[in-house]
């Protein structure tokens, strides 16, 4: 019964996934039927404000974005721990609340550390 209910609940998900892909495929296919296709060297060059493209776009990038992703990863995993706690808080009572206060305190110390180390600053 439980397995069946799970199937029933996620059936729309599976079907939406398939139908979404099919929808995009049909739209792209329809456009392929009607659109012109006259390719020239200029058309296929990368857009760079009508100039000849200079070099490759995939160059060394600002380290700042990497720092943000690292901090994000830590927070995202910790946020994940809060979901089961939030659902069960009423039955956990005061102890659950104190535990989460400690957890968030550690989280805030981590944020303060990243802040102090200027991981969140935008370095020019």
């Amino acid at each position: 019964m439980a397995a069946n209910e799970f199937l029933n609940n996620y059936l729309p998900f599976a079907m939406m996934l398939v139908i979404g892909i099919v929808f995009v495929a049909i739209a792209l296919f329809m456009s392929r039927m009607v659109r012109p296709s006259v390719k020239t060297k200029e058309k296929l060059s990368t857009y760079e404000c009508a100039e000849t493209p200079v070099g490759d776009a995939r160059i060394h990038y600002n380290i700042q974005y990497y720092m943000i992703v690292i901090v994000f990863l830590i927070f995202d995993v910790e946020v994940l721990f809060m979901y089961p706690w939030a659902v069960q808080l009423r039955s956990l009572g005061g102890l659950g609340f104190i535990e989460m206060v400690l957890f968030i305190e550690v989280l805030i110390i981590g944020l303060a550390y990243a802040w102090r180390k200027e991981a969140l600053e935008w370095i020019q």
């Binding site: 998900f13 456009s31 392929r32 927070f75 809060m82 979901y83 609340f97």
Partner: protein, 367 residues
């Protein structure tokens, strides 16, 4: 645990009321394919949602342009159809006939697959979105977590699109978009958790049901009145998530041409366009579900609750969309360092504070 009724149950109930359900069921049982009936019914539901999404996108793109024009004392689209209402159809036909250019230096495979991922991931957000009383595709028990998880796929497709284009504007726009999306996912998730603490369930239908009723017979029991700070945080985070002015770094026209879809043309561009507006509606619907009482509203006699609730949901969602468009029309863009400063140093601490206060109130037994 009782599962809330969803659209499937509603369709079965309607078929039963007409008296044809047993006939159809008997037909499918004769073939020995009882489960096929469920698949057919779900197929109908999904078709309805898909058509609804497409119509919404068409209307929204017209609405936003028209509103932008009115704010700037222009006319906006007005040639095609009454007040230019058919402009989106004209756009669609134009895009259908446009040449599809894949730059020679681009990564062809990833370039082609990115529009699929962005559109499908936005479409999947609609599954646990309650449009009205029992008007929901599937009431997942992890509904809110599911929504946040699926929303996290969109930045991946943006990054794929920007990377595959091998265009400097695209890559810059994509990386900015991802940095912004992930920075604002955290306050969004934490404010959502603060509501889950009150409800004790991740199901979107349970969240809406918890907001039914009134205080003092006048004030509706919406969570916006319990957590005004949470509502403001969620609204800002959602507007950033939508990538709209004042947070539209992914496609700030003056700097990055069109951001991550600079190189896309024709139908592939249309897919990004569709996804953007569909995402906008979905996110507004989520704000309404979490904080503005979802589909709840005063019941009207005679008219079935499914219809009135759908109307209430639409009114509220369009109010949020109106607010987002209004922001776009009036507010200048912030700088990216200001954006990250706001996200990490103001919104996350405030969101944690909001969560702790909510948890304290629940533990103390006030609510």
């Amino acid at each position: 645990m009782i599962t809330n009724p969803n659209a499937y149950d509603l369709i079965v109930a309607i078929l039963n009321a007409i008296g044809v359900y047993n006939i159809i069921l008997g037909f499918f049982q004769e073939q020995g394919m009882e489960y096929l009936l469920r698949i057919v019914i779900v197929l109908v539901e999904i078709a309805v949602v898909l058509v609804f999404v497409l119509l919404t996108v068409m209307f929204l793109s017209w609405f936003e342009r028209k509103m932008f024009a009115v704010v700037q004392s222009r006319y906006g689209p007005m040639v095609t159809g009454p007040r230019g209402l058919f402009q989106p159809i004209a756009d669609g036909i134009k895009l259908l006939g446009k040449e599809d250019i894949i730059p020679a230096t681009a990564d062809r495979w990833i370039f082609t697959i990115a529009p699929y991922i962005v559109f499908v991931s936005v479409l999947l957000v609609y599954i646990p979105l309650p449009f009205g009383e029992s008007l929901i595709l599937s009431d997942l028990r992890v509904g809110l977590l599911y929504i946040i998880a699926i929303s996290a796929i969109t930045p991946i497709s943006i990054l794929l699109a920007g990377w595959a284009s091998n265009n400097k504007y695209s890559l810059m726009g994509a990386i900015r978009a991802v940095a912004q999306d992930i920075s604002y996912t955290i306050p969004l998730a934490i404010t959502a958790i603060a509501v889950v603490v009150f409800v004790g369930s991740l199901s979107t239908v349970d969240i809406v049901n918890a907001q039914q009723g009134y205080w003092f017979w006048i004030i509706p029991k919406w969570f916006i009145f319990l957590q005004p700070l949470g509502f403001i945080l969620l609204l800002i985070a959602c507007i950033a998530e939508m990538g709209r002015i004042p947070f539209d770094f992914q496609e700030s026209e003056q700097e990055l041409v069109a951001g991550f879809f600079t190189e896309y043309s024709g139908m592939k561009f249309a897919m990004f366009f569709l996804a953007e507006y569909a995402h906008m509606f979905a996110v507004s619907g989520i704000i309404v579900t979490i904080f503005l009482g979802g589909w709840t509203g005063p019941a009207i006699p005679i008219i079935p609750i499914q219809i009135t609730s759908l109307i209430y949901f639409m009114i509220k969602t369009y109010a949020v969309i109106f607010f987002a468009c209004w922001l776009r029309d009036t507010v200048p863009r912030v700088r990216i360092d200001q954006l990250l400063h706001l996200g990490w140093k103001i919104m996350i601490p405030l969101a944690l504070l909001n969560l702790l206060v909510a948890a304290f109130v629940v533990t103390a037994g006030v609510i």
